[in-house]
Assembly symmetry: C2
Homo-oligomer: 135 residues x 2
DNA sequence: CGGAATCCTACGTGATACTG
DNA sequence: CAGTATCACGTAGGATTCCG
């Protein structure tokens, strides 16, 4: 499947405000920034989910391919555990790990911030757009 | 320049864990997730910066085009103020707004979390990669 | 059911050249 | 200096098909 092993993603050195060190924030942002990871983490924070359950639960309609890629990447990073039950038909359960639950808390912080400031952002946008070249 | 007005980015409804409401988290994540915004915010959190200053300060080497796009989007969202001094040669100062400083705090939270868990993530990745089909 | 493999497209990003 | 305009490219993501 090739999830693009680490050499690719570890491009980013990043220099933080007071503590002038780089950190792995790029790895985290790459996951948070993609289209589905956050939604998957949120849904899994509600409990164990099977593959199709997860797919149907996500608003917007994720494709099988993207759901597979997303849970695989989360699993690779240790956020999600994947349990295959050798039954027929097959059954695969996905669940947040401790690390994943920690990430869920972080996501919670993000959503809280978004809720608080989203209106202000949209407001600024509207003003900025209005001030742009009438074209 | 067309920064893709709001219709495009407001695709995401998003359902949060306990509070089953959607919020503007997608707008925020789109900005946090792109390649340069976080670095720009961090650099600006250190003080006012001119265009070239900003460009030279960013590790990795951002192109003029991407720096322009990045600061424009941040300005559009109300995170950054842009001040043009009508001198020759021109001088343009960029500075975080209150909203931008609030975002900087959020970024701080993100980097802290990353610092705490990055090792664990890399660890899991190494293990996952090693466990993969030897191909 | 839970994928993998393949093909295709849109968009984010980079490189380069030009301008006031 | 601080941009804008063009082109060119890689890749995230979607649609479809096939498999155990």
């Amino acid at each position: 499947m090739s999830l693009g092993h680490t050499e690719v993603t570890t491009t980013a050195l990043f220099d933080l405000a007071e503590s002038g060190e780089d950190c792995g924030i790029r790895d985290v942002l790459d996951r948070l920034g993609d289209k589905w990871s956050v939604q998957v983490v949120v849904e899994l924070s509600r409990g164990v989910r099977r593959f199709r359950e997860l797919q149907r639960a996500l608003p917007g309609g994720i494709s099988q391919r993207m759901l597979t890629l997303t849970v695989r990447r989360l699993e690779r990073d240790g956020m999600v555990s994947r349990t295959v039950h050798p039954t027929v038909p097959p059954r695969v359960d996905y669940e947040l790990t401790d690390l994943g639950r920690s990430l869920a808390h972080l996501v919670r912080t993000l959503t809280d911030w978004s809720l608080q400031h989203h209106d202000a952002i949209l407001d600024h946008r509207a003003r900025w757009d209005a001030a742009q070249p009438p074209e």
